[in-house]
């Protein structure tokens, strides 16, 4: 396996932008390339991750290439959904050995539509989507299962939201931050019980980008490359009723395959858009009690009036 590192990273997020995807992307892509030490024309592979349904424009990822400037023609790819998939594809591409750098970016304008309607379109079209269960409703079913199993309390969930918002005050890229007392959060109304507004993620428009470099080139361009020591992804059956919603075997297996399950780590950034999910993923990773979780503030946040 070839050593691959992240040598630069940039991001931008806001509740609602008046810019289009290209206008949001240009400053972030410019910054991430400048900071990488790799001249733009030498980047060997470009891959983006996005979901067209967020902004309502089919093939919006094609338009986004304006921010990269694809001339002379570049080697480029796009994956559905998000930057994590794009990063994985870039990492795989770099394993081939013929190129040594890749630009990865992700973007989305969720504020243009109603995310609770948009996310229904990703469900089983035969027995789920026709009932229109929005993503907060589905997460609520999982949160209730956690409460029933005694794996967390609503207070635990509120504490995660409060900690996240407090930690986000130190993160200039976070758009939801501030002090919040658990007692006050627990007075908020339910959106879909047992999830309150603070248990759910904010709606955001944003972009993120990273440059990956392989082998010795990474050491040449970056004093402290962030080496990817392991990477893996697993998925479970999609049907809600065939799984134990309180556990995540896919996370455990991916962590084992990536070589990190149960090992001592200093911090963990977990994508947990709903507060109860941090507990599920934390336990599935085998993280010890003292590990700092989501010092960036994570994915949860504040009231959104359209929720």
């Amino acid at each position: 396996m070839r050593d691959v590192a992240i040598v630069s990273f940039a991001q931008y997020a806001v509740a609602h932008t008046e810019h289009d995807e290209v206008e949001m992307l240009v400053p972030v892509i410019t910054e991430v390339i400048e900071r990488s030490g790799i001249p733009k024309k030498e980047i060997g592979f470009t891959v983006s991750g996005s979901c067209d349904y967020l902004g309502g424009r089919p093939f919006s990822f094609v338009m986004a290439l304006d921010a990269v400037g694809a001339w002379p023609p570049i080697s480029e790819s796009h994956v559905e959904m998000d930057g994590a998939w794009a990063l994985y594809e870039a990492w795989v591409r770099l394993q081939h050995g013929d190129i040594d750098s890749a630009l990865v970016y992700a973007f989305g304008r969720s504020s243009q539509g109603d995310l609770r309607d948009v996310m229904v379109t990703q469900l089983d079209p035969y027995v789920l989507a026709p009932l229109a269960p929005d993503w907060i409703s589905l997460a609520a079913l999982q949160a209730r299962a956690m409460l029933d199993a005694g794996l967390c309390t609503e207070r635990d969930m509120a504490a995660i939201a409060a900690r996240s918002r407090r930690d986000a005050t130190a993160n200039p890229a976070a758009h939801v931050k501030g002090d919040a007392r658990v007692e006050d959060l627990l007075k908020n109304r339910y959106v879909v019980s047992p999830l309150r507004v603070h248990d759910c993620p904010p709606v955001s428009d944003g972009v993120a980008a990273a440059v990956l470099v392989a082998g010795d080139r990474a050491r040449k361009v970056c004093k402290r490359p962030a080496w990817i020591r392991g990477i893996d992804h697993r998925i479970e059956p999609h049907s809600l009723g065939v799984r134990d919603l309180t556990r995540s075997p896919s996370t455990s297996l991916a962590a084992k395959k990536a070589g990190v399950h149960g090992r001592k780590v200093d911090l963990a950034e977990i994508h947990a858009p709903f507060t109860h999910q941090e507990i599920i993923v934390r336990d599935a990773l085998g993280l010890e009690g003292g590990v700092a979780i989501n010092p960036s503030g994570g994915s949860v946040g504040a009231p959104d009036r359209r929720m």
Partner: protein, 171 residues
């Protein structure tokens, strides 16, 4: 379509994205939907003996093709739920209701649907619910209009836990 200028010069306009899909369902889902049209619920049995409702074409655990169809009961147990105080368009009910995963009698997996309960206080995991059929059925999941509690509500014996009140108590 009308657009409005937003202060600062950025424009805004409404936009509707619409697709009129008609999806073929195949023999397995087709049979499930056909039995719904007839007011019955069928699942499939996997080679390992599990009954899947709704049916899947292949066993999610082993990937093997599924076997016989099995009729299951029209009532079952709520395995988890969530209360919707403000229903959204296209959801099964226009008044507050509960989503639930329901394991029907004879099934080994749970299916998602709505429960028409008077309030969140009437919902709890483990309760029994029964199907309420739509009057005119055509062969789709909405032929089940929703589920309803099997027993008449009795708040004296089924005392609600404090966290089910929407004013926000917590354990």
């Amino acid at each position: 379509m009308e657009s409005t200028a937003v202060r600062g010069g950025a424009l805004k306009a409404p936009y509707v994205l619409e697709y009129t899909y008609r999806r073929s369902v195949g023999p397995v889902l087709g049979r499930f939907l056909t039995s719904l049209r007839e007011g019955r619920i069928e699942g499939v049995r996997t080679p390992s003996g599990k009954v899947l409702v709704p049916p899947a074409e292949y066993d999610p655990e082993s990937g093997e093709a599924v076997g016989d169809f099995v009729e299951v009961g029209q009532s079952g147990v709520v395995t988890t739920w969530g209360w919707v105080e403000e229903p959204r368009p296209n959801q099964p009910l226009a008044r507050p209701f509960a989503w639930a995963l329901i394991k029907l009698d004879g099934a080994d997996t749970a299916m998602l649907h709505a429960v028409d309960a008077p309030s969140a206080a009437h919902m709890k995991s483990g309760m029994r619910v029964k199907v309420r059929w739509r009057a005119e059925r055509v062969g789709e999941i909405q032929d089940i209009a929703c589920f309803e509690p099997e027993l008449a509500p009795n708040l004296a014996t089924d005392s609600p836990k404090s966290e089910t009140r929407s004013s926000g108590g917590a354990r």
